[in-house]
């Protein structure tokens, strides 16, 4: 009986330890929650991938994001999307409207928006241009890019832990979110797209810091 009690204690401890490890001390239960927590604790550098888009000559994404004074709110989209990307587009439109008001006010912190398409073979610059026009995007505030090379697309998705799942009907499901990238091109925080005000305020706060 003593041995059984001893083994049970050991098993309970092992179970507790593995659950604590999996859930970051019982803070998160899903991979998405863990990703957001891990990004907040350890910012992720932008990987070395090439992007292009309407008004954006082919260049490394890091150069586009890390210009030294702009904080960027990034989202991942594909233009054929009829569901979550549309609401994400609406969120970005509202943020753009708020940023316009910022611009009108003096001394506003520089925050910009960037939509990255993960469907690079379909979403070439002319397609993105049409999509941007449909979204009433102001190129000074909200730009669109894609990765022409599928492998580098995969690399960026992996680094930023964006998981894209084909749903078998020609569409994709993906963990849509608002990603805040700081002036040095590091992904520093991931917000749910329902938390747009929080994401924008956080980006403004970052941009306002000396």
């Amino acid at each position: 009986m003593f041995r059984t009690a001893l083994l049970c204690t050991g098993l309970a401890l092992a179970g507790y330890a593995s659950a604590a490890w999996l859930t970051h001390d019982f803070q998160v239960w899903t991979a998405e929650g863990a990703r957001r927590l891990e990004v907040a604790l350890r910012p992720v550098a932008t990987p070395d991938v090439q992007v292009d888009g309407p008004g954006v000559a082919r260049q490394p994404l890091a150069r586009l994001l890390a210009d030294g004074h702009t904080v960027t709110v990034v989202d991942f989209i594909y233009t054929r999307c009829q569901t979550v990307c549309l609401s994400l587009g609406g969120v970005m439109q509202q943020m753009q409207a708020q940023l316009r008001q910022d611009d009108a006010a003096e001394g506003a912190a520089p925050v910009k928006l960037l939509s990255i398409s993960f469907d690079g073979s379909h979403d070439d610059p002319p397609v993105l241009q049409r999509y941007a026009a449909r979204m009433n995007a102001d190129p000074a505030l909200w730009r669109f890019v894609r990765m022409p090379d599928a492998r580098s697309s995969q690399r960026l998705l992996e680094a930023f832990e964006v998981v894209v799942v084909p749903d078998g009907r020609g569409d994709y499901e993906h963990n849509a979110a608002l990603l805040v990238v700081d002036r040095r091109g590091r992904l520093v925080r991931v917000f749910d797209y329902s938390e747009q005000q929080l994401a924008l305020d956080y980006a403004r706060h970052l941009a306002g810091q000396p």
């Binding site: 083994l7 049970c8 098993l11 999996l22 863990a34 799942v165 499901e173 963990n175």
Partner: protein
Amino acid sequence: MTMSPWLTRPRMAAAALTLLGLLALPLVRHALEAGMTTHMLVQFPLLALCGAMLAHALPACWRARCDRWNAYGVSGLLAAALVLAVLMIPRVLDLALVDARVEAAKWLALLACGAALRVSWRPAGLLVQGFFLGNVLPMTVVAGHLFQDTPVRLCNAYLLDDQVRLGQWLVGLAACVAAGWFAQVVRAMMRQGGAAALVTGPASPGSR
């Protein structure tokens, strides 16, 4: 478990290893892990079955050594309950797809879970079995309801309708196991006359 004369220990071990090898084939593994429902309700039980078959093939002297650490099957059922609880954390499914260490740990845990159930179920008797199921089944139902009701995807790698389907299956499965076990309890009590069956367990060797 009644043993057919041809189902000797080595044959059982060989069958278990064959099944394990099949499941480990990249083609089969990826096919089963492509869906949330097949991942959790086909691959998980098959791995546990391999574990149970391997435990069945253990020589009697090993079993006796195990039993000293497993009075009334308590350690084994606790281990199984813990494995099932940890594997119901949604992050495990996502992590198993991208992290080979987690995938390996998942396989070992499920083999151990099946083996533990095999060696512990009968020694446990109906009382301890009831305690085990009384913990595991409500946990399964709660997880199943969560999978059905949450409007967001709990696993980044799986689709929402797959998650809902898995939730329905988990609730249904828990209900079936509960009903099946209860039928067995009633049968044992009718055979042995009342509450004595609860402690001594079902007499018939044909039961699980």
